[in-house]
């Protein structure tokens, strides 16, 4: 068991290191902006005092190195800075009721997690069952139809699927609302109802991916000699699947789930914009458009962290489920 703990610790350390380097990449990318940062934020009409205030506030007079470490230090203490939009508002209108980026992001992050959660609850069981069926009945009409459908669904842009769903489930047959105006203090049922269409859109994309990957993993497995051996021992088909295929399929299936949850992170951006869902993806896109650097940086880091964590989780799960590593020689 010593070796497996060591491997997992190594992976964890590697994940942390990657996250650190990613934060560096994001920082460098943002600071590669030419010209005067403060001028960019406030626009041409800003007073020199306001510009100076922002420069000091952002620490733009310090060198890159110091700035990176103070940014990183702030990050670790949960201080993600203050959005330019907020600052701009404050400098033009006065007042000091600034909301930090962290506070700005938190509710939206929760909303996005809710959306991702609903999607996962629908998509994961559905796609694994469908993938298993496709693998069991491979090369039949069912398998071919599933192949064509999933391939089409993967190939289509998320907004196409989203509008098709809006068309059929919101406009032509008003089953779900097409706008997901979610707010705090909403009842769960209501919230679920409004989240349904974006969740279904994401489900379509993710299920297709997951199902194809599950199918491939299972087929790969069913071709292995020990499955043939089990059949030749006269074991019933059900037992072959449950007892011989599943324990070995666990690692690939967990991998598939984690990879697709990670994929959700990217998909969520477009879908949130289509349905005007108040999640972190929409905040990100809005901030990109107005070049609100602190928010962009923070969102980017959150997305990357979630992505890295999920991949790490997949990695560790597959290590844990490998009998060769669990029972070393």
């Amino acid at each position: 068991m010593g070796s497996i703990a060591r491997i997992i610790l190594q992976r964890l350390a590697l994940g942390l290191l990657t996250l650190l380097i990613v934060s560096m990449v994001i920082f460098v990318a943002v600071n590669a902006l030419p010209g005067d940062f403060a001028q960019q934020i406030l626009g041409q009409g800003a007073t020199p005092e306001a510009i100076e205030a922002i420069r000091k506030d952002l620490g733009l007079d310090q060198n890159y190195f110091l700035r990176y470490f103070s940014w990183l230090g702030n990050l670790l203490t949960g201080n993600l800075g203050i959005s330019f939009a907020q600052m701009n508002f404050a400098s033009n209108m006065g007042g000091d009721q600034l909301i930090g980026v962290a506070e700005q992001i938190r509710p939206r992050f929760m909303n996005t997690m809710f959306l991702a959660g609903v999607t996962a609850v629908i998509a994961v069981p559905l796609s694994i069952i469908l993938g298993l069926l496709a693998a069991l009945y491979r090369n039949t009409v069912f398998d071919r139809a599933a192949n064509i459908t999933t391939l089409s669904s993967i190939s289509s842009p998320e907004f196409f699927l989203a509008y098709i769903l809006i068309l059929f489930l919101a406009v032509l047959n008003p089953v779900f609302p097409s706008l997901s105006n979610i707010f705090d203090g909403m009842g769960f049922g209501d919230r679920l109802n409004k989240t349904m269409l974006p969740a279904l859109t994401l489900t379509l994309v993710v299920t297709a991916h997951m199902m194809r990957m599950t199918r491939a993993a299972i087929i790969n497995l069913l071709a292995s000699p020990y499955i043939e051996m089990a059949r030749l021992k006269g074991i019933s088909p059900m037992r072959v699947i449950v007892k011989h295929a599943l324990p070995n399929a666990l690692a690939p299936i967990i991998n598939v789930i984690a990879l697709n949850l990670a994929y959700l992170i990217t998909g969520v951006v477009v879908v949130e914009v289509v349905f005007v869902y108040p999640g972190i993806g929409q905040l990100f896109v809005d901030s990109v458009k107005i070049r609100d650097i602190p928010v962009v940086q923070a969102c980017c880091l959150i997305f990357a962290a979630a992505y890295i964590l999920l991949n790490l989780a997949a990695d560790i799960m597959s290590i844990l489920s490998n009998p060769r590593l669990r029972h070393p020689k």
Binding site: Y163, V274, C299
Partner: protein
């Protein structure tokens, strides 16, 4: 709730029908192995398939007979069925054509081709023609603004249409039909160029890393690992934020930045594949023989490795193209991609999207944004069908 009840009843109906189907099959066919060894799931699949097909046909005929309000509601369903049939027939015809024309090698290729792949090839050819000859095909220029804005499509004056603009005009009076055609040129062309650039960068580094190994491989691979730890679309959006500032400051077109950014992000994926494919080939004995002969690096890469890597690279090119194409479309849809006045499908979807809400009253108006989005989907589906076939073929050869 009634919807759920209907679903539940039809499901139970299908389950019963499946049992009856299998049982009667067994009795009637005198226990032929086909029915005797048929799993219940398979029987259920057959019944379900027949039920869905029947439902589609009945609804379609119903829609054709129905009057105004109901017909509107089923307009998109009818169109979808019709287009599906048209595409299927076109693909069949195309495959028959391919099986009887051209060189012997091509005929052989078409003979083993599934319908999906021939459909894909047909669509790719059509898109290539449209995007290359967009200037000749389109009736108007992509930036040409007409006096009449927001003309609904259909070209029927009684519903406010104009036969000069069969698909109507957009909110500032540009011909949608022409912009759709130019969209092919811009969106497909830019995506193609980006993919080529990504392949050039990723392929070069990938093969060098595979052949040379050592520190070059380590440095590039670790860099790629870090770049790939940031989700592609998120990274692209981040870099586009910065690129817009650069573009404003230096007066360079933002689209060029986008091409470079997406190419670099995508090159990381190409690098991974090229390196993996290269490494599989590098361990072959014929590479060892060439090395021991004293061959140089260029000979090894271009004469020994590359010819054996074409099949997986070509398939990857298709997949990468789809990915790039979708990323660009997404960026444009989000408003930071291809910039106006260039016509492009992602932006068109965004601009026309609110028309979907008119679907119940004027279905042809609502179809404009769907057409643009559908144009994107159709090409990526087509490419994916072809790639799927290629991958299947190459994996089949190995067994």
């Amino acid at each position: 709730m009634s919807l759920l009840t209907i679903l539940a009843i039809s499901l139970i109906g299908c389950l019963c029908a499946a049992w009856v189907f299998r049982f009667s099959g067994q009795v009637l066919s005198d226990q032929k192995p086909f029915f005797r060894d048929m799993p219940y799931g398979v029987a259920f699949g057959y019944v379900l398939g027949v039920a869905v097909l029947a439902w589609i046909i009945v609804t379609y005929i119903g829609a054709k007979i129905a009057g105004f309000p109901a017909a509107n509601k089923l307009y998109f369903f009818v169109k979808a069925v019709e287009w599906f049939v048209i595409f299927a027939v076109a693909a069949v015809l195309f495959r028959i054509l391919g099986r009887n024309l051209g060189t012997a090698g091509m005929r052989k290729l078409f003979r083993s081709m599934p319908l999906t792949a021939s459909f894909g090839i047909l669509i790719i050819i059509l898109y290539a023609i449209v995007s290359i000859f967009a200037g000749w095909i389109a009736p108007y220029g992509q930036e040409q603004v007409f006096a009449q804005a927001n003309i609904p499509p259909g070209g029927d004056p009684s519903t406010g249409g104009n036969p000069q603009f069969p698909m109507g005009t957009d909110q500032i009076g540009r011909d949608i039909y022409s912009r759709l055609i130019y969209g092919a040129q811009n969106t497909v062309g830019i995506a193609f160029a980006t993919t080529c650039l990504a392949f050039f960068i990723g392929g070069t580094f990938g093969f060098l890393a595979a052949t040379l190994g050592g520190w070059l491989d380590q440095i590039v691979s670790r860099t790629v690992d870090v770049l790939m730890a940031i989700p592609a679309l998120i990274f692209a959006l981040l870099l586009m934020t910065i690129a817009t500032v650069w573009a404003n400051n230096f007066g360079i077109d933002r689209t060029i930045f986008m091409v470079v950014i997406i190419a670099v992000i995508d090159a990381t994926r190409v690098y991974r594949l090229a390196r993996a494919v290269g490494q599989n080939i590098v361990v072959m004995d014929y590479i060892e023989a060439a090395k021991l002969r004293g061959e140089g690096l260029m000979y090894l890469i271009f004469r020994e490795i590359l010819p054996n890597a074409t099949a997986p690279l070509l398939a990857e090119f298709g997949l990468r193209f789809c990915f790039v194409f979708l990323t660009i479309a997404s960026l444009s849809f989000l408003g930071v991609g291809i910039q106006p006045p260039l016509a492009d499908w992602g932006t068109m979807v965004k601009d026309l999207s609110q028309f979907i809400n008119f679907a119940q009253f004027a279905p042809n108006v609502a179809s404009a944004p769907l057409l643009a989005a559908g144009a994107i989907a159709l090409l990526t589906v087509a490419v994916n069908f072809v790639v799927d076939w290629m991958l299947h073929k190459s994996s089949g050869l190995k067994e």
